[in-house]
């Protein structure tokens, strides 16, 4: 995260490869399922031996004996509809909810987040020197409409995507944040409105950030969890 600050995001998950290294982010949507982006995974039709999700810590590389850490192997990956760039990852056993681990809410189907809603992105990825990569960084980003966003991207932003405003100083997700959440406040709850996907450049001054609009795929998410 470029130009973020250390913060708390109990639904943000660190996805770990077979060597235990953090390589992408994810969001906990119930005790057994994490949402992330397809871009982080080589295929949806293979097993995930050795991959895991780490929850319950703000540190990218927590101490061995840090009591709150939960490391749960991933047992299944399900690809979303083709244009969604989303995947769902099943945890081998349920995550334990506490003050450091909680599930994020899912938006109503096809809900459009109003402009200027207060949102934030979170991750342990690259900060481009603007922050400490060893802790979870969070950045506040307000929503803008697709039409406004398309002025910058010349009409390339699609309806299953959404944007947040850019700041002159440049705020945004970067390398190894992908799959992480765009969480927006709705009364006193946080809702998963977007998923971070790779974009050209990170936190480029004046460039809006694009996310996959989760509300378009809530029916698929619920279907996978039910099936």
């Amino acid at each position: 995260i470029v130009n973020g600050i250390p913060g708390n995001s109990p639904w943000t998950v660190s996805l770990r490869d077979r060597k235990g290294n953090h390589f992408c982010g994810g969001s906990l949507v119930n005790s057994r399922w994490v949402i992330s982006t397809k871009q982080c995974f080589s295929s949806c039709y293979v097993d995930l031996p050795g991959y895991s999700a780490m929850l319950g810590t703000l540190f990218r590389d927590p101490q061995e004996d840090e009591p709150s850490v939960q490391v749960i192997p991933l047992t299944k990956i399900v690809c979303g509809p083709s244009e969604s760039q989303l995947v769902m990852l099943q945890l081998e056993f349920p995550a334990q909810f506490n003050e450091r681990v909680s599930q994020i809410c899912l938006p109503p189907e096809r809900y459009i987040v109003p402009e200027d809603t207060e949102c934030e992105i979170a991750g342990w990825g690259e900060t481009k020197g603007t922050g400490d990569e060893t802790v979870l960084n969070v950045a506040k980003v307000p929503v803008i409409s697709n039409s406004r966003c398309n002025q910058y991207f010349r009409g390339r932003v699609r309806e299953n995507e959404m944007c947040t405003n850019a700041f002159q100083g440049g705020v945004g997700a970067c390398e190894k944040d992908y799959g992480g959440p765009l969480a927006c406040r709705n009364s006193d709850c946080w809702v998963l409105e977007g998923v971070i996907i790779p974009m050209r450049r990170c936190g480029h001054p004046g460039q809006p950030n694009i996310f996959i609009r989760v509300s378009v795929y809530v029916d698929w998410i619920k279907k996978v969890m039910e099936m």
Partner: protein, 463 residues
């Protein structure tokens, strides 16, 4: 620190079942653990293989043969692993091959071998015993001859001849850095025996076979799970953790032919090992370091050693099986970066039909998923138990295994799949031209429960 299992080649989930007429030759040995079972078999001249069952009870069965159709057959049994003595299954030799126990019985020039027990046409003084392996007319090397396993021939004009059994290090050659090597070399270049990958002694390590199924970390054979320059193994010498193995390289022409067809340049498939495009900066716009440079980052990926990895210029590549193409960056503070801005190749198959709106009324005959997997019939429960079926949705025309949309899924017709790993998937059908997804605009108040709550006081957590 050598495990007796090092003498054996394991076949997981397999059992060697004798034919009815010789099942009495099987020797049951109760209450032995795996190493004891192997050790007893190693010491017994009658034992060439053993079945080791773990469920419902532990059992060790010693067998006087290895898998060949005449004596016994290999069957599937998830509760059992078959261990066969390497010398009886190996098609190659180590050193001079004195311990070769294969079944080749013709010489280098194609002559049939004379039976060892026979003195005709060539008289000799070798007599078969239970320990010298002079069985029937198989090639053997009882006297440690440098020509390797040999035999007396049935040609009166030719007394004996080598059988030309290949050295294991030449039997299977390696391309590039040998990460695809699946041969049977089990010693390092200096002659140290390899440690089994599924054991943690004498050396603890992270390369457990079940974690790296794609690396075929079988028994104690040389492999290359970490993109080293050549295949290697942990050794049974407690003082030497790991060493490279000496395996022949394939001629380069063969290598060239293999690679061209799978290259991609505009996108990448899987982990991107075959990506050969020209993206040469990280996603955040930092130029990549040239692969043939060691500054600002020193690294082991020399283009001439990894010649099949396409390490040209400073293009994003994946020489070590990472999650996607990557490169060393040109800034000292960031050693490597994934090039996730490169698109993944679409791996959906060609759509075979189209549907209106969300496809709820689709009644076509497509029965394949977007990945080309055949759909499961709606009225069966294997491999997936169906929650949605003709009984629950009689009006949805759930016939045979045609793609349908009984639950009005907004993303189109789907089906349960015959792939055990994929419960359901969308079909190889696209929306008919001109169809649009409609997004709702405003939803009044929405109530959330038991989600999205968090502790906003950050200090208490960071302490």
């Amino acid at each position: 620190y050598r495990s007796p299992l090092n003498d054996f080649q394991r076949s997981e989930g397999r059992e060697l079942v004798p034919t009815s007429w010789n099942s009495n030759l099987v020797q049951m040995l109760p209450n032995l653990n795996l190493e004891e079972c192997a050790s007893r078999c190693s010491q017994s001249l009658d034992c060439r293989a053993f079945n080791y069952e773990t469920r419902p009870t532990v059992s060790c069965k010693h067998l006087p043969w290895v898998a060949d159709r005449s004596n016994a057959e290999v069957k599937r049994n998830v509760n059992c692993d078959l261990y066969e003595k390497k010398v009886y299954v190996r098609q190659c030799i180590v050193g001079k091959g004195e311990d070769y126990r294969g079944k080749v019985f013709t010489t280098k020039s194609g002559l049939t071998c004379q039976q060892w027990w026979s003195k005709f046409p060539h008289d000799h003084w070798w007599t078969p015993t239970a320990s010298n392996g002079l069985e029937l007319n198989y090639c053997r090397n009882p006297d440690g001859d440098n020509i390797g396993p040999w035999c007396y021939t049935t040609d009166p004009e030719r007394r004996y001849e080598s059988c030309n059994i290949p050295q294991c290090k030449d039997e299977v050659c390696i391309t590039c850095n040998g990460e695809d090597y699946r041969g049977q070399v089990d010693h390092t270049a200096s002659g140290k025996e390899c440690q089994r990958w599924d054991q943690q002694h004498p050396h603890q390590h992270i390369y457990q076979p079940e974690k790296y199924p794609d690396k075929s970390l079988d028994d104690n054979y040389c492999r290359n799970p970490d993109a080293s320059p050549v295949p290697w193994c942990y050794t049974t010498d407690p003082l030497v953790e790991r060493e490279n193995c000496n395996i022949s390289k394939c001629p380069t022409v063969q290598v060239e032919k293999r690679q061209r067809s799978s290259f991609t340049t505009n996108c990448f498939r899987g982990r991107g090992e075959d990506y050969r495009g020209k993206i040469n900066e990280t996603l955040s716009g930092i130029p990549c370091q040239k692969w043939n440079a060691q500054y600002p980052h020193e690294h082991p990926f020399y283009p001439n050693i990894y010649e099949c990895k396409g390490l040209e210029e400073n293009y994003c590549r994946n020489p070590d099986g990472s999650e996607a193409p990557w490169c060393f960056t040109s800034v000292p503070e960031m050693r490597t970066a994934l090039c996730l801005q490169i698109k993944r190749c679409a791996d959906d198959i060609e759509a075979e039909d189209c549907y209106q709106e969300n496809g709820k009324n689709y009644r076509g005959a497509v029965r394949k998923t977007r990945k080309g997997v055949t759909c499961q019939r709606w009225n069966v429960n294997t491999p997936h138990r169906t929650k949605i079926n003709p009984l629950t949705h009689p009006e949805a025309n759930l016939t045979e295994n045609y793609c349908r949309n009984p639950d009005g899924d907004q993303h189109g017709p789907w089906c349960y799949t015959t792939d055990p790993k994929t419960e359901f998937d969308y079909c190889a059908i696209k929306q008919c031209a001109g169809e649009k997804v409609s997004l709702t605009e405003q939803i009044e108040r929405v109530e959330f429960s038991e989600c999205g709550k968090r502790e906003d006081r950050i200090q208490s957590i960071l302490r």
